[in-house]
Amino acid sequence: MNHRLHSYLFLMNARISSPCRPAVWLRRSLQWIAPGLVAIAAVAAELPIPDRPEKLTFAPLNYEPPDPRVSRVVLKAGPVAYVVPDRELPLVNIVVHVRVGEYVDPQGKEGLSGLAGHLLVRGGSASKSAEELEERLAFLAASLNSSVHESKGTISLNLLSKDLDEGLALLREALTAPRFQQDKLDLLRQQQLQAMKQRNDDSSDIEDREREALSYGEKFWLNRLDTQASIEAVTRDDLAAYHKRWFHPANFLVAASGDFDRDAMVAKLETLFTAWPFQGEAGPAVPADLEFAAPGLYIVDKDVNQGRVAVLLPGILRTSPDNYAIALMNMILGGGGFTSRIMNRVRSDEGLAYSAFSMFRGGVYYPTPFHAGFQSKSRTVAYATSIVLEEMKRIAQEPVGDEELETAKRAFIDNLPRRFTTKANVADAFIDEEFTGRFAKEPDFWKNYRTKIQAITKEDVLRVAKKYLDPKRVAVLVVGQKAEILKGNPEHPVDFPALLGGRVVDLPLRDPLTLKPLNVENK
């Protein structure tokens, strides 16, 4: 709750920049060749220090991403496992991934996945009450957590390798015989109700919710949010039924990394999943029946002195052949932090925002939208939006610079090792490929990744910008002081509605407990 004692001020907003910067979402290595540092240093010492960094020379860094096939094991008990030994520290990390998600929640019981996912571990197990289980885990300094999110469930175990067998027994029991204590359900429900009450407190939460509604439509499963009524409708029996229906080996994938012998771990995983006490159902496909909002300017009136803006366009699937060109186009437009155009204009040139970015990543199960965003004081919201739209137009009209494209490519290519920084990252990366079905179609995805990025040309970038950044389809969401925002700034007059085709839609705040539109006649 209290963040100020441990929060520091950062140069840039890492949370915002991380999804779009490969810098952050790519992590580390398995096989690589140590560079000849000694040799470079010896040569460099004789030369004067140059005035420009381009004049420095570097030994090549030969890096190959790890091969998933080396770690992949199909367990006799069913699940596919990725097993990555790492003897550096006496720790073991095991994550069971489950093919289930919020999309299975029945109408009227929204929130069931979240409750069941959390309580799978936190609600106790057959032989141990929730309290006993917590105490034992705490004494072992082990963590055992479970959750079900949008399109995946996970149960993760992290502990000292000396305690592995005991940890696996606890994991097995959590997976096969959760207790779902009624008092824990009551407590969690109460905590969630109170969390719900905060839905209109922070303008960023309002923005997130309404942005999803515009991006996918209110009927899309992602936007069927839990309400007081829906979580109160969930009973202990529902949790037990949910568990038996989805939590069985045919829906599992496993990532194991850390301090163990590979074969020994495989044997332990076989035991973990053998002789499952019940049959379940295969998880259904993730629905993709979304509906993108009509173009226009959507405003939620909220009394804060900084408006939050999201510029949205219909998105793509990850399997789109345009994906690589889009990644580079977005990197140049707004995905590359300080090297991107939106950041340069909105932040560095004009000082209009602290965080300014764009994201455009292909969705795994359904198209995820293009999203450019920033936060600016009320009176400069319209001006800053006009700059973002201008940059979107420009990249769709003029070819990008050679140097810009090269920088964007290097950012993706040279940061590939960061995808695989720790062995746990390696196992996670492999599991993600397997879970989302890409491994089956493209087992050498990461091996070929750099070549595909390298092959993209300026023409490709221009083509995809033209194709996807269609100004006529733009929907802009603004959360902030409506009157002040529409007043604009006399020094940079902008007709905000006209910028978006003249259509202005007032979005009401929603009752935090029912999500029904609130009467805001007093505003």
Binding site: D201, T339, D414
Partner: protein
């Protein structure tokens, strides 16, 4: 790095661990093999050689934070952190002499603009201007000057190479580039591929040797937007800022690291230049490298690049302020767009103080799902939905903080009283051995978990060195393990006193955004779980007929009982009606 230290890091601990009692891991510390080198200009160099991944995480910490500022220029340490990315004579411009000319001309205009700002502030004090920050409040002369200033910016843009510092790193494979400022320190960091050590040395030594603070005023506006985002537009930001000031009083920790609004908009480039000369001198900086390099080579190369920077003429002035002993409890009673909650601060001790270790252990005894606060207040008396506590040792002072959110129907005051009850128990009786061991086991395991890769190790070294001594990274573990139950009891008695605390209570400010409130708030605490169970049954019922029958029964009994019961029955009826309406839709 010595072979021995490397051996410690790589040590396979299976045999070692097997020898431990079932009790856990007491005393087992995983050392971070840091080597220290002092350069000729006084700069400190810390190296951690690690060949696990083909990267080097590099950073440096300037031993300056907002605590080193003074009123009038608060926020400068942080603004400065932003300015360090603006380039050098060769990075960021195509024409350095022209760039300097423009910067000088901009400063002249800004001096005059500052005088106009003074006039606006004076008018504000006389009540002639409602809000000095609004664009309409600017003087006519200010607008003229602003137009001229914009002309200079246009001119500068012609020769500017935008964010070139970042571009060089990005195209060189750098990632995670960022920097931070706190009350105590300013840190800069990035990860580069292992073959780019020299690029890192070039970039970092150049910006320390000859930084150019171009685009100063646009960046000042960026920082102001950061303030709006973090402090002014967030539900608790402005209250938190006020609470810090209340707690620390005249101590420099009392002003915000982001700076006060009037200071942020008045800081000049001349202020920044003076600040740099004092606090960014090499003798006030520690450089840290973690990753895939050879230590002797890295030392030689670091000397070559960083020893170009001359030692600062002025030594950093000593930090004088001590925290004023607090004579009485302080309270802030706030209404905010937030759930009811309480936030308590006690004055404690700074970094490396001998009592900081028992206080840290005490914080852990209180926190987590098996901690005392959770057991007593969330599971036991059920007055809170969440609560946690901990010791925060800063460089010049310390605070112990406990927070708690009130459960529906309970008040922050009840949570507060509950917290004091838990602390009184700790004063009365020593913590049982098993409970203490549990907490120590977690600290011991944490010694391993923190070593997963180069970047987190760098961040930890920056942190402890910035607080005053990198050795803490290897010494804290043993000090934590040495804490006894008697120590915990002693610090509880010493520090948790009424007169050394400040208490902030928050209640929800009712407004249009809070909703219909058709919920449990109106019920007595003992009625709520009953209603939740009933509500759950209602929601799972799909027969309208059955619901109507129940509704009829409820309505017949509406007039029975006392006021408390009537409220309950009213809600019961409403829930039934809602469900029927839902099914009939």
């Amino acid at each position: 790095m010595s072979a021995l230290t490397r051996l410690i890091l790589c040590l396979r601990s299976a045999a070692f661990l097997a020898s431990l009692s079932v009790g856990g891991l007491s005393g087992l510390a995983q050392q971070v093999p840091v080597t220290e080198h002092i350069l000729s200009n006084g700069m400190k160099l810390l190296l951690v050689e690690r060949h696990d991944e083909p990267t080097i995480s590099g950073g440096w910490v300037a031993h300056v934070g907002s605590a080193n500022e003074r009123p009038g220029i608060t926020g400068i340490a942080h603004l400065f952190e932003h300015m360090m990315f603006k380039g050098t004579p060769t990075l960021g411009t195509k024409d350095y002499p022209k760039d300097l000319e423009i910067i000088a001309a901009q400063e002249k205009l800004r001096d005059e603009m500052r005088r106009e700002d003074d006039k606006v502030r004076a008018a504000f004090r006389r009540g002639e201007v409602a809000d000095p920050m609004k664009p309409e409040s600017k003087t006519a002369r200010y607008r003229e000057l602003e137009t001229q200033f914009k002309g200079l910016i246009e001119e500068q843009r012609k020769i500017l190479v935008k964010n070139e510092f970042d571009r060089v790193y990005t195209s060189g494979g750098g990632s995670m580039m960022n920097a931070f400022t706190s009350v105590d320190m300013t840190g800069y960091f990035i990860t580069v591929p292992a073959n780019k050590l020299e690029l890192w040395l070039w970039m970092e030594s150049e910006r320390l040797l000859r930084p150019v603070f171009r685009e100063f005023y646009a960046e000042r506006d960026v920082v102001y937007e950061e303030r709006r985002m973090r402090t002014e537009s967030s539900p608790l930001g402005k209250f938190a800022e006020s609470f810090e000031a209340l707690f620390w009083e005249s101590h420099p920790y009392g002003w915000p690291t982001l700076g006060t609004p009037s200071d942020i908009s008045s800081i000049s480039k001349a202020d920044a230049d003076a600040f740099f000369a004092t606090y960014y001198a090499p003798q006030n900086i520690t450089v840290i490298l973690v990753g895939d390099f050879s230590t002797p080579e890295a030392v030689a190369m670091s000397k070559r690049y960083f020893e170009r920077i001359p030692r600062g003429v002025n030594e950093v002035p000593p930090f004088i302020p001590l925290v004023n002993p607090q004579p009485a409890e302080k309270r802030m009673i706030a209404e905010a767009d937030a759930n009811p909650q309480v936030d308590i601060y006690w004055h404690t001790v700074p970094f490396r103080h001998k009592d900081s270790y028992p206080l840290t252990v005490l914080g852990q005894l209180l926190s987590t799902r098996t901690g005392r606060l959770y057991k007593k207040l969330v599971l036991g008396s059920a007055v809170a939905t969440e609560t946690e506590g901990g010791q925060y040792s800063r460089r010049w002072g310390g605070v112990f903080n406990i927070t708690g959110e009130a459960r529906e129907g309970h008040t922050p005051r009840e949570v507060e009283e509950g917290i004091y009850g838990v602390l009184e128990d700790l004063k009365k009786e020593e913590v049982p051995a098993a409970e203490l061991q549990k907490v120590k086991n977690n600290f011991a395991a944490g010694e391993y978990r923190r070593l997963s890769s180069n970047f987190p190790i760098l961040r930890q070294v920056i942190q402890v060195e910035g607080l005053g001594d990198w050795r803490e990274i290897n010494e804290a573990g043993a000090r934590i393990q040495a804490v006894t139950a008697a120590d915990v009891r002693r610090v509880a008695e010493t520090y948790f006193k009424k007169e050394t605390r400040a208490v902030g209570t928050y209640t929800r400010k009712e407004g249009p955004a809070t909703g219909a409130n058709d919920d449990l708030a109106g019920l007595a605490p003992d009625q709520r779980p009953v209603m939740m169970k009933i509500a759950s049954q209602i929601q799972s019922e799909t027969s309208v007929e059955k619901l109507k029958q129940t509704l009829q029964a409820v309505e017949q009994r509406m007039s029975e009982g006392d006021a408390k019961r009537k409220v309950f029955m009213g809600l019961y009826r409403k829930r039934l009606q809602n469900r029927i309406a839902e099914l009939q839709k």
